[in-house]
């Protein structure tokens, strides 16, 4: 293994949580998440030699992971449409097998009901990114980031309440 690849894998192993969280937010089945994890890994490796600011590795990973996921979502929607309802158990299960904590599972279920941009904003907000960082990653203005976070939070609470009532 060459030095550059070793360096890349060392960085990735400390930041791989971002990749898992991004795939968890956008994709429901284990098979889709695994495929997307590999796709993001490949895109990161491709753009790694061009990475200039080594201090902003987190933002770089978020940008590549989010752009890659959103560029593939339409293809996956087409697959789901053709197959009608995807058999979640057959394709490797949902987040229930991955996440044991009940509250975390409900939160992910509620996030799945948000639209794609709200999912993106909430992902970054929950990962405690500043408004400046969210604006840099998404390309939204800082004031719009604030508006979007408040709106997405309200929708998320609404979905969470609904899920709680359904479970009771």
């Amino acid at each position: 293994m060459n030095k550059l690849k070793q360096e890349f894998l060392d960085i990735l192993s400390s930041y791989q949580g971002i990749l898992h969280k991004v795939t968890l937010v956008y994709y429901k089945t284990k098979a889709q998440r695994e495929d997307m994890f590999q796709e993001i890994l490949y895109q990161l490796w491709k753009s790694y030699p061009k990475l200039k600011k080594r201090e902003s590795i987190g933002s770089w990973i978020y940008k590549v992971a989010i752009n890659t996921s959103l560029s593939q979502i339409n293809k996956n929607k087409e697959i789901e449409f053709r197959e009608e309802l995807p058999d979640l158990s057959a394709s490797g299960g949902t987040e229930a097998e991955l996440i044991k904590n009940e509250e975390t599972r409900l939160l992910i279920e509620a996030i799945h009901q948000l639209n794609d941009i709200d999912k993106t904003v909430m992902l970054l907000y929950l990962d405690e990114k500043s408004y400046d960082e969210i604006a840099e990653i998404t390309g939204l203005s800082i004031s719009n980031v604030g508006v979007k976070i408040n709106r997405a939070k309200k929708t998320l609470y609404h979905h969470l309440t609904k899920i709680y009532h359904e479970r009771k």
Binding site: Y42, N74, L98, T104, L140, K153
Partner: protein
Amino acid sequence: MKENNIQSAWQKIDSELQPETNEELNNKLKLKSKKIMNKFLFSTGISGIISAGVIVFLIIATVNRWDDIYYRTINFALGLIILISFGSAISSFVFLLNAPKNIPLKQALTIRKKKISKWLSSKLPYFILPVICMLLMLSIHVYFEQSHFAEVITTEESFFGLIIGLTVGLAVAWFAMKKIRESQLSHLKHLDELFEEMK
């Protein structure tokens, strides 16, 4: 669930995920690189083999019928269109593969939207595909009739055969174009939705 609880529920994900070793990450990277390379070779390989096959046929046919100026002109035109179309298809495919990902989301979506809109607004593919189909059928038909282009066109039996063949070929070309366009329109619709959600 309150705001603090949401944050803490989210943070728990890190402790629940099984971190992968460098070796596992490297294996996944190798696997994906191999898959992407195979996909690239498969997509470009099939169209490349077909294009090369047609070009070889055109060269042989043209050399064998060098005295037939109409036939020679058709084959030259067809060869040129195929070479330009193949080159342009490869460059679009490479562009999509190498589209930058390390840029803000809005910028990445804008680049993709521009590319798809440009492709959808261009009328050239609707013209090129039927023209290729028509010239190719004409070239093959005239070659196997073993007579001059002008003679084949003026023979009634041959002319009707050609019309039927052209109709079928154009229907196939139209269907293929329709499918590609539908897929691109669906991508554009998804991009428009994302832009709308960004407001």
